[in-house]
Structures are given as structure tokens and as C-alpha cells.
Symmetry: C2
Subunit: 281 residues, 2 copies
């Protein structure tokens, strides 16, 4: 498969990837690149055989995986041509893809890039929460460009399949548009709604809420730092998604004013919810 794999950024995803690769291919050399305390912890967890605290440690790898927050990955792509001298296949595991793919277009030819996004997560982040089976049965989207070599895409598909994930390919723009709706919009709407509801109801009013509000607002606990890069690098698609929801709410409001019974939106929502619940990603 790959003989020498550098993983740059050892949080939940990077750490889990290191553990999964070492479990599947014990003979592969995994190089963990992050700050000193993190890479020391990675060695203690047997997640890496070699370590580095700088991108130069990736030189000589045949696969380089960027697993830092999205904007750090973009920054690394900009410097990679100077820091890494050999040839390598480069991928990333970030939650948005268009800006990453754009940055990767500037790489020298010897560094071939195919973006990726494993749809896997856990309640807790960080290397401590990493586990080798994090990607099992989860989708892993790859976003080749017209310049990507088919052989590179196939090698990454084979890699993630061997780790138990379900690879699928799509255009980076389509990926970001889709994520704006199935992931980023729900997060922002829940955060905005929790703030509005809290301010109007106050603590005593919230005490009267039932399970509907409690379940609906689970995502309101998300920390801002997880979302900072995601929203910043998908602002355009997310703005469009916000507009569509605002329009839908405007229609609902007009229906209410006219005494319509909202059958249509409830019926459409139930139908789509059934599709969602039957899908098994």
C-alpha cells in the first residue's frame, strides 16, 4: 500500500488514522507530526514509529495526510513545495474542500493532491479520544479534480476501504454545497435558535421545556473552535443555505398569517425525515 506515511496533525482524526494504519499494516512507517507534547503522546500510544514537529519531517514519505484544522492545512499546502523535496501523494481530512483543493493547485507536480473527508467523529475530540475503528462503516468522501491521476484516487480508495470506511468521490464544490446543508446549516440554526429561545424564555422558562427542545438543541453544546475554520472556508454555500431557510421560514409565517394549516411543510418534512432515517450512513 504505502510504506512511509506522514500524518500532520494528531487530533481525533489524525490519531485514529495513525492507529488504524498501524493496526492494518504493522510494517508501514507512520510519522506523526505535531507539537512536541502531542507527538510524544502519539508515541506512547504506539500510534507512530517516528515523529516530527515540522512539515520537513514528512520528506521521504509516499503519503502525506494533512489532519490539522482546515485553514492550517491550507497554510501547509502553501509552504509544502519548499519544505518537502521528494514526490508524494498528499491528501487531507478536513470538513470543507473547495479552498483546500484551490490551495493544492499551486503544489509542484511531484506533490500530487487528492482531497478527502472522512465523515467520522466522536463526542470528545483530541488524540486521547482516537481509536483505530473510528472510520469503520463511515463514508469517506474523496474530491479529485480533473488534474488528479486516476491511479492516485484508486490508491486512496483502497486505503480507506482497507480501514473499514466506505469511499465515495465527488467534486469539491458539490461536497461543500452538500455539507452546508447536511452539517453546517443545522449547527448554525441550532446555535442561533438556542440563543433566541434562551433570551426569550430565561432560566425559569427553559425549566418548562420538554424533550423536543432538549433533543433539538443537542448541537448547541458544540465548541466554537471546532466550527471556526469550517464556517470560514464554506461561507458562500452556507450563506446560500441560510437564505433558503430564512425564505422557508418567511413562507411559514405568511401561511400562519393567512390561517393556512402548514400541512404541506409538515408533510414534506416527514417524508424527508423518513428518507434520512432509512439511510444508514
Amino acid at each position: 500500500m504505502f510504506e512511509r506515511i506522514a500524518i500532520v496533525g494528531c487530533g481525533l482524526i489524525g490519531g485514529s488514522l495513525a492507529l488504524a494504519i498501524r493496526e492494518r499494516w504493522p510494517e508501514a512507517v507512520v510519522i506523526a507530526i505535531d507539537s512536541a507534547p502531542i507527538v510524544e503522546a502519539a508515541v506512547r500510544m504506539s500510534a507512530a514509529a517516528a515523529v516530527g514537529t515540522d512539515l520537513t519531517a514528512a520528506d521521504g514519505s509516499d503519503l502525506i495526510v494533512l489532519a490539522a484544522p482546515v485553514r492550517q492545512n491550507i497554510e501547509m499546502l502553501r509552504r509544502m513545495g519548499e519544505r518537502v523535496h521528494g514526490g508524494a501523494l498528499v491528501t487531507d481530512v478536513g470538513s470543507t474542500k473547495r479552498e483546500v483543493v484551490d490551495a493544492a493547485a499551486q503544489l509542484p507536480d511531484r506533490l500530487r493532491f487528492v482531497g478527502g473527508h472522512p465523515l467520522a467523529g466522536a463526542a470528545a475530540g483530541g488524540l486521547d479520544a482516537a481509536r483505530a475503528d473510528l472510520f469503520r462503516d463511515r463514508p469517506w468522501i474523496l474530491t479529485p479534480t480533473p488534474n488528479s491521476a486516476a491511479a492516485d484516487v484508486q490508491r486512496l480508495c483502497a486505503l480507506v476501504s482497507a480501514l473499514g470506511a466506505k469511499p465515495t468521490t465527488m467534486d469539491a464544490g458539490r461536497h461543500d454545497h452538500l455539507m452546508a446543508y447536511i452539517s453546517h446549516l443545522p449547527q448554525l440554526v441550532v446555535s442561533a435558535m438556542m440563543e433566541v429561545v434562551g433570551e426569550e424564555a430565561g432560566p425559569s422558562g427553559l425549566g418548562l421545556a420538554g424533550s423536543g427542545l432538549r433533543d433539538t438543541t443537542r448541537l448547541a453544546s458544540s465548541p466554537a473552535n471546532t466550527w471556526r475554520d469550517v464556517t470560514a472556508t464554506n461561507a458562500e454555500a452556507l450563506s446560500e443555505a441560510i437564505d433558503k431557510l430564512r425564505d422557508a421560514l418567511g413562507i411559514l409565517k405568511a401561511d400562519l398569517a393567512q390561517g393556512n394549516e402548514l400541512e404541506r411543510v409538515f408533510s414534506a418534512a416527514r417524508d424527508w425525515k423518513r428518507v434520512l432515517d432509512r439511510s444508514d450512513a
Copy 2:
């Protein structure tokens, strides 16, 4: 307590109330009023000692509980002066209160009204799902008006306390405003978002969704008929709530366009979510 209690409408709430009263006060006469098949089922479940299919069967009761959908309760309040000849304390268990309290203001003096709203529910509705402990440890809001007799409010508080519920009183307008935010807005937003997300993502895109979207959209399965009366009788407060959320989403969109990092909304949402999760209604 009360000797003869008519419960008009034997769904989940009315049926559970009948069972709870008979369990607590076996000597009380509970009269179930609904369509023939429903009241027959209520008798089979030992939820009622007497039955009727018309409001006139409530005559002679010292407590009348309206437990049909809100607009049917309002209609019954309009006809009650003609149909019920004795004196009685009248209450309801509907999810909105202002229009109900307004309709009750037309009752003759012998029919004294105090509105109520038990905040209890279950995944399944209908008499089949009724159970005597449905109200245990759940809030039960009573909405007296300046014309309500303190003794009537106290008797209802004592009744619902004896059934295990936690009574609290508030003005009908405050109730409806509060419910618009903690209950009705989340339902409409989830339904609208599920439709928007489904239409943009399609079945294959929804297949890539993670637990965030799945949990957030649980309420999208709600049937329209449960919400028809609620939204129709709280349209004004709900429209205001929709406006506030649309404004909040507009601010988020402007923040995105300006490259702001959304720290403020995430932080406020987390704080309110913590308040919500620590409250134990």
C-alpha cells in the same frame, strides 16, 4: 376533592387524566365524553364509570375538563352555556391558552373557568397510549385571569399535585409567548429545515449525514394534525418568534460575510444549553 368529573376528549391526555383520577380517588365518578368507539374503549380500560357522546353528559359534574384539540375546546366553550345547566369548575388541557381564556370569558357565572396545560406527552398519542403516571413530576401550568376565584385555582393546584404533577401559574399571554419559543418555534424550524435540507441534499446526500442532523431533526416526524390547532391559536407570538430567529440568522450571515468567527453566538448558545440541560422539568 371532586365527586363527579367529566373529561371531554379521551386521547392521550384526557385518557391519562381519567386513569390517574380513578387510581388516586377510586370513589370519584369519572364521565368520559367522546365518540362512541372511544368511550367504549375507555370503559374497557376502566378509565371511566360513565360515558357520553355529547357535552350534555357533563351536566351535574363539579369538574369539567376539556381535553379535545384546542379549537374544539374553544367551540365547546361557546356552546357550554346552553348545554350544561348546573354550576361547575371548568378547565382545559390545551397547548395554547390565550384564545381559550378569551372564549371562556363568555361563559355564564355558574361555569367558572381556569385554563390549564400539563407539559406531558409521549411518542404515541391516543387513548391506547394513556397511562396513570403520565403527569408524574411534569409541570402543569394554570392560567388564571383576574376574574378567577383564588379557591378554584387552589383546588386545581391541589388536584394536579395529587396526581404527581408540579403546578405553576402564569398569565395566558405569558404562557403562549413562552410556548412559542420553547415548543412551537423549534417544531416549525425543524420541519422547515428538514424540507430545505432534503431538497438540496436529496436521498444520496442525506445518506452521508451524521448523527448531528439525525438528532436535530427528530421533531420532523411530527404529524401535522397535532400542530394544526396549536399554530393556528398562537400565530401572533409564533410569528414574532420566527422573526427573531430570522433576524439572528441574518446577523450570522453578515458575520460570515465579514469573516467574523461566530464566537459570540456559539458561546451564548452553549451557555443557554447548559442552563437548559441543568433544568429538570
